[in-house]
């Protein structure tokens, strides 16, 4: 580099050398916009199909430039985590920082290379834009700043949670997962983008974004308070919920190069519930309870999730609630249907205890229809809620299925469940653990019974000989993926796409189950009409066959008179949306209406309580 000294006076002639620029060409660019750089941050593009309306872009926007607009003609599918909201950008606020692009969970919003927009003074409306695939002025210019793995701002990987290895857990009923430590929970909670897809998809609309944020802030009590807003069975749901929230989670959306795992919402719920002392939870739950008594009396039949949730809500409103339970303990299917390794009893007891502490009284071992008639209840109470659940299993009705060693899964689980307090041994069971068994069915119940029996087999015979077979292909199994995975790990054989044809009997004992290969499950109209390939026949040599293909309600308790009064639909009680039956004092809720699912039952309980409340207030 040439040095210039300070003392150098310079010359008058030096600048004249620059007159050479007369002979040089100008550097001016031609008029009109130049093409912008490859990653230019111009106006927004939004892939309307990809966008799920999660409004995460709106939250990261530092300028409050993004408004979510409801577009009715787009798909609205809360169960799969898709809303018909789309971001509209206010270019009177936007600063083109592209943080919205970097954070978009699905990579729908992107920036284009288009950068010219001018308008007359009275056309400011054109600054408010609904970005689409075509760009701001309908002329697509190439994409500019897009999402890559480097600039993705979200943490895509779920925090691994400690759990027992298959070997450790194979012969006992201890709870499999350890739960989050506080540090893990805060980290996992921090991944949440607060989109509320979980809230929308949850049957009971739990305030998941709020309690996740509370957990992230380290305030578990606040989290618990949010949970009790909508779910008195949070201990249970924190363990065995079907977690539709996680499938709907924005971070669960497919189509990203780097893959993405949803927030572990269920485990976070479990963490928060476990982190708060039980007595404190009772206080938190009681916060919303009114002191006033309405004087209305309500009877609830069945102390399952639906019945108790309704009771919980109604007690909060100041009503008097009496719950009748046919069995010795509360919980219904959650107690007698879900194995211990998924839901320890003491957790369920805590939930029930909170509800009881609110003032719900439960009478056990009282079977309505036998001990007390429905007419009696009608007389004694202002309203009655029927929440009896689905107590009996459906049968395949194949030849041989009437044999005594062909069990229904529900019944078997109940028998296991009623001795659960010390269920680590098989001695207390009132049936003999089979050396080999086959479960028909591909749902969670099938997995539960299969895995429970497998544990007993392991205990007693030190080997697992358990087969689960179902008519569906493996990818269409109704059971959770993690259940299938864990079943396989525990040594259970799963044989999909087999249609059971006959229980082969020999000498009054079961010899084998005969199955054919399924060619198709549904016909062209989508009705259930399986087609079999009869040439592909298999026989499984087993001692026991368990049917787990569905459950149904036992409606005998209603009595003849009431049964006639009520309206029925295809053999099921006809129930309005809000749980009301055709008789004005009777409501029905839970699995017996909606099919088996804890969180649905809870949602149902809320719905019925609300409906009863409304009916009362009309009366008043």
């Amino acid at each position: 580099m040439k040095k210039i000294k300070y003392d150098d006076l310079g010359s008058v002639l030096n600048p004249l050398k620059n007159l050479q620029f007369f002979a040089r060409k100008p550097v001016t660019e031609p008029l009109g916009p130049r093409p912008a750089a490859e990653i230019y941050r111009g106006f927004h593009l939004n892939d309307m199909e990809k966008c799920i309306g999660c409004s995460t872009c709106q939250k990261i926007c530092d300028n409050a430039a993004i408004t979510m607009v409801k577009i009715p003609h787009l798909k609205e599918d809360p169960v799969n985590g898709i809303r018909n909201l789309r971001p509209a950008i206010d270019y009177g606020r936007c600063c083109w920082c592209a943080l919205c692009v970097d954070i978009c969970p699905v990579g729908a919003i992107e920036l284009s290379r288009e950068y010219v927009h001018t308008c007359n003074g009275d056309e400011v409306d054109s600054y408010f834009v609904l970005p689409q695939e075509k760009g701001m002025h309908g002329t697509f210019e190439e994409k500019g700043w897009t999402k890559t793995e480097t600039n993705d701002l979200l943490d895509r990987k779920r925090l691994p949670m400690g759990e027992m290895t298959p070997d450790e857990r194979g012969d006992n009923f201890d709870e499999i997962v350890n739960g989050f430590t506080p540090e893990q929970a805060i980290l996992e909670a921090s991944r949440c983008v607060q989109c509320g897809m979980c809230h929308d998809s949850c049957p009971t609309h739990m305030h998941a974004p709020e309690y996740i944020r509370a957990i992230w802030k380290g305030n578990v009590e606040e989290a618990v308070e949010w949970m009790y807003e909508s779910n008195p069975f949070s201990h249970v749901c924190g363990r065995v919920c079907t977690h539709r929230c996680e499938s709907a989670c924005s971070l669960n959306q497919a189509g990203l190069p780097q893959g993405s795992e949803p927030i572990a919402i269920r485990w976070l719920k479990r963490y928060a519930m476990d982190a708060v002392p039980h007595e404190r939870i009772k206080e938190i739950a009681a916060r919303k309870k009114t002191d006033q008594k309405t004087g209305q009396k309500i009877a609830v039949i069945g102390a399952g999730p639906a019945g108790l949730t309704a009771a919980f809500d109604l007690v909060k409103q100041g009503h008097e609630v009496q719950v009748y339970e046919a069995l010795a303990k509360a919980g219904g299917m959650t107690r007698y249907g879900i194995p211990y390794y998924r839901l320890p009893d003491d957790m369920l007891d805590r939930d029930v205890d909170v509800i009881v502490s609110m003032g719900v009284s439960i009478q056990y071992n009282i079977r309505i229809g036998k001990d007390i008639s429905m007419e009696q209840l009608h007389k004694d109470y202002d309203a009655v809620i029927l929440a009896i659940g689905l107590q009996s299993g459906r049968s395949t009705r194949i030849p041989g299925s009437e044999h005594e060693d062909v069990h229904s899964a529900v019944e078997l689980l109940r028998r296991i469940g009623s001795v659960r307090d010390d269920m680590n041994t098989a001695e207390d069971l009132d049936f003999k653990v089979p050396h080999s068994a086959v479960v028909i069915g591909g749902g969670n119940v099938a997995m539960d019974i299969g895995r429970s029996l497998a544990r007993y087999q392991k205990q007693q015979y030190n080997q697992v000989n358990m087969t689960i077979t179902a008519i569906d292909a493996l990818e269409n199994f109704p059971a959770d993926d993690v259940e299938i995975k864990e079943s396989l790990e525990e040594g259970i054989t799963i044989i999909p796409s087999r249609g059971p044809q006959e229980v082969v009997l020999e000498n009054g004992k079961i010899k084998a189950l005969k199955t054919w290969r399924v060619e198709s499950v549904f016909d062209a109209d989508g009705r259930f009409a399986p087609q079999y390939d009869e040439s592909d026949e298999q026989l499984y040599d087993v001692e026991m066959v368990v049917e787990a293909i569905g459950q149904m309600a036992e409606m005998e308790l209603l009595g003849e008179q009431l049964t006639e009064q009520l309206e029925w639909q295809r053999g099921r009680l006809k129930v309005a949306e809000d749980g009301a039956t055709s008789v004005d004092w009777l409501w029905s809720a839970g699995d017996c209406v909606n099919g088996p699912d804890v969180v649905h039952a809870v949602a149902d309980g809320h719905r019925v309580a609300e409906s009863i409340n409304k009916a009362f207030s009309v009366q008043r």
Binding site: Q58, C61, T67, K70, A88, D90, G92, V124, D125, L130
Partner: protein
């Protein structure tokens, strides 16, 4: 090395004064917590004896929970090549009356700029500082805006209007039954 000497000397000196608390955060960063009464003397010492001639900045932090302002004097020594941050706390008053402290203008000339800034933004009056008058906010009549209890967003919403957009596409969507669902102000974290 000369700078090592200065540092060693300084450490020795500071350790002798028992009112102040010295934290050496890294090779070139020293944090000193000092009571408000002895800060000017410390700065005088630093400048006069320890070659900390450059006042890089004076920062003020509002701690309404503690009813205190924290003043941080960042001083740099060209010779020791080290930055010393002297933290002190003074009592905080309500927005109407000023908090008071002494100026260090006679030690460090640049202090005048920062003190005026803090005076405007936080309402701390520095005795004997040359420019205790408004400079940036000459046309501002509200409370000192940088105080934590001044809610800028509420003030803005009270004072200003926002553009009212109603473009054609939005009208079409509204006819369809849709429309604006979540406004940005409803969702801020």
């Amino acid at each position: 090395m000369k700078c090592d000497e200065i540092n060693a000397w300084l450490d020795a000196l500071l350790s002798e004064i028992n009112e102040i608390e010295v934290t050496r955060k890294s090779e070139r960063r020293v944090r000193v917590d000092v009571p408000a009464s002895s800060l000017p003397a410390l700065l005088e010492l630093l400048k006069g004896k320890a070659s900390y001639v450059h006042l890089s900045a004076i920062s003020c932090v509002d701690w309404p929970g503690d009813e205190e302002f924290e003043l941080v004097y960042h001083c740099w020594s060209y010779e020791a090549k080290s930055l010393l941050s002297a933290h002190t706390r003074i009592p905080r008053n309500s927005a109407e009356e000023f908090a008071h402290y002494v100026s260090v203008y006679d030690i460090y000339k640049p202090a005048a700029f920062f003190e005026r800034d803090i005076y405007e933004m936080f309402g701390v009056y520095f005795e004997s500082s040359p420019y205790m008058e408004k400079f940036i906010l000459t046309e501002w009549n509200g409370p000192p805006p940088m105080r934590k209890d001044f809610d800028a967003e509420a003030y803005v919403n009270d004072t200003f209007n926002w553009a009212d957009y109603h473009p054609q596409w939005l009208q079409d969507i509204e006819e369809e039954g849709g429309g604006i669902a979540i406004r940005p102000e409803d969702i801020r974290l």
